[in-house]
Symmetry: C2
Subunit: 386 residues, 2 copies
């Protein structure tokens, strides 16, 4: 089932941004997205770029404008909920083609259109971490006296509290990933490569409603499971070794992930032991979470419990990060976190433990409720030796 | 078959960069890559980032350094051909976690290590189009007096001439994509969604040696084929409508793509006519290409031929772009191109025509030779009504 977020929810998002611009005395916001982080632009327009990048300008008053690259016009016109669309060279592919003869707008046109020529004293920038030089230089050229302000807080705060439609999309994303894990558990065999197993999962994701992978899929085995971040390889999977699955679907824009450590046949005793401790920690973290709890308290208690269990050295980060339009999005839950959990915040509880020989990750998407959390996937919550 | 590019080829690449730094009076190069454009970092180190971004610093003399984010250390150590690796907060995920307590290097450490404390007067920047603010600001802080110079030309020139190993990887990439198209042609049925067909292709790519998709796969049907750039949708495929397939595999880092317009049953007469003209143009472009020909001449003759055939209005860009570590990489072949085709340059001949109702793309990877081109895929070079 595909969740269609109505136009009214998109225009409501823009209005909330505008109220916040007013509060923070910003004249305009410019959000940036690229192929690997489409979140801010998708949140405001439902458009998500591929090959090219994209932006949205939201003036304090008036209509937002979607900014796209030279080749995406018909795609954007068919898909964007923002009806004003402008094409700029700054959003072209990283190969930097010239497109001789093509009519393109400039940032001067954009701000003329957005503000009716009013002066932009302070410009908020959302997507600061991925904002590339050509866009910043293009902006600087037409706004030489404007103060540029990192304004990620605006969209982060809005995005962190999910609407009913967003929650429906995340539930569906989880259901789609479950189908892929079912397919993997049914078909995985010793001798297959990690990448061949990725292919099984991909086929099932797209068969069952995904519009894309939720993240680059993880199928790691043996020593490769030590990697917190990695790419699957041509290594063949063997019996009795740890296999790490992290499978996520993007559905209606929303991504979550299900992470399970499994083995074909028995896990060695030392492996099984750390997997068991990981599962205990994973369940404890979920038990700690509910509306009103300070986020840092969850992180502190997680670390204390890891210490008591003798695995503090095996922790790299954690224990949670936000999910929504990205499988990893703000806010994280860390000991430095300075906020309180609210109802309808959604997180990945991401319990990763590693040693010099192997690593494992229990990972589940949850929604914060008044009394605890709703876990989107309630399956395979045990140690799987298939 | 997986092509393993030997360590010697990687160290040779670094040496060539250093010779060019010397020639251009640059003290250092810093290259940037992210999940959607891993090319420069992969070219120098074989490492490709996921979730996080990455960089490589190449000093004019001495050893290069791979720069990674906080979570990628073990992955990078297992995979990078560059043995000096430093972890910096600037390369973290776009969600910007804090990683409290983690030991990280700074750009000050990086340049101390790279240059032994010698002054960096001029710093070349490769990957300018994707260079994000946090990295630039981190550099600016420790190099306040340094001149930053866009230096994409260095890696672009090196990358544009493929070695025997790179050509082998591209041939294999094409073979893998062929397997995926075979699988699609065998299984595609009216009533499937575009995305379900993507799943069929994905499974076959990973089954046959791909380490990833070469690009976000295209399966578009009906009106969606008008989009030069787009994302496949949940639209169901019907008989007698145009279906556009663009399938690419990434193999050993190298990506190409095969593009074919097909239909299940007969195409309507007006559709078939434009598809035929597209195929003529596509073959003509390949016939124009060989070592020694100015690139712009190919583009000019393509446009003239399109005009003669009455389809100039249906052209958006073209007719070719480079391929290698990206499915779209420099150089393009445009009327503004200012270089001559050389042996072992590789291109996608990318013939896209669109109208208000539909569009079509013939696309093939080729290698420039003394007498013409080697086309990597010689199959389905006719109009397919299956």
């Amino acid at each position: 089932m595909v969740t269609v977020i109505p136009d009214s929810e998109f225009s409501d998002r823009v209005k909330r941004v505008q109220r916040e611009l007013d509060r923070q005395d910003l004249d305009c916001l410019i959000a940036h997205s690229n192929e690997s982080d489409p979140a801010n632009v998708r949140y405001l327009s439902d458009y998500w770029p591929v090959f090219e990048s994209a932006g949205v300008v939201v003036p304090r008053d008036g209509d937002p404008i979607l900014l796209i690259g030279p080749e995406s016009e018909l795609y954007a016109r068919d898909r964007s909920r923002i009806k004003k669309i402008m094409k700029l060279l700054e959003y072209r592919e990283s190969a930097e083609p010239d497109y001789p003869g093509m009519r393109l707008s400039t940032f001067r046109d954009v701000f003329e259109e957005a503000t009716g020529g009013r002066k932009v004293k302070r410009l908020g920038i959302a997507g600061y971490a991925i904002m590339p030089l050509p866009v910043i230089e293009g902006l600087r050229k037409v706004l030489p006296e404007t103060e540029f302000v990192k304004a990620d807080n605006i969209l982060r705060r809005l995005r962190s509290l999910k609407s009913e439609n967003e929650i429906a999309a995340l539930r569906e994303s989880s259901r789609t990933a479950e189908k892929a894990i079912e397919s993997v558990l049914e078909k995985i065999k010793p001798g297959m490569t990690e990448l061949q197993v990725v292919g099984i999962a991909q086929q099932a994701l797209y068969e069952n409603g995904a519009e894309y992978e939720g993240h680059a899929l993880y199928v790691f085995s043996g020593k490769n499971t030590r990697h917190a971040i990695s790419r699957p390889t041509h290594k063949k999977i063997r019996e009795n070794e740890l296999i790490q699955l992290n499978i996520g679907a993007r559905v209606s824009g929303y991504s979550s992930s299900i992470g399970r450590p499994i083995s074909i046949g028995r896990m060695p005793q030392n492996v099984r032991k750390l997997v068991e401790i990981g599962l205990e920690l994973h369940q404890e973290t979920r038990d700690l979470m509910r509306e009103g709890i300070p986020a840092k308290e969850v992180a502190e208690k997680f670390l204390k419990s890891a210490e008591r269990k003798g695995v503090k050295e095996n922790v790299l980060y954690g224990p949670c990060h936000g999910i929504g339009l990205m499988e990893v999005e703000p806010p994280w839950i860390e000991t430095t976190s300075d906020y309180v959990l609210k109802r309808n915040m959604t997180f990945q509880v991401d319990t990763f433990l590693y040693s010099s020989d192997f690593g494992l990750r229990w990972e589940d998407a949850v929604r914060v409720t008044e009394n605890g959390v709703e876990t989107f996937c309630n399956r395979w919550e045990m140690i799987m030796e298939i």
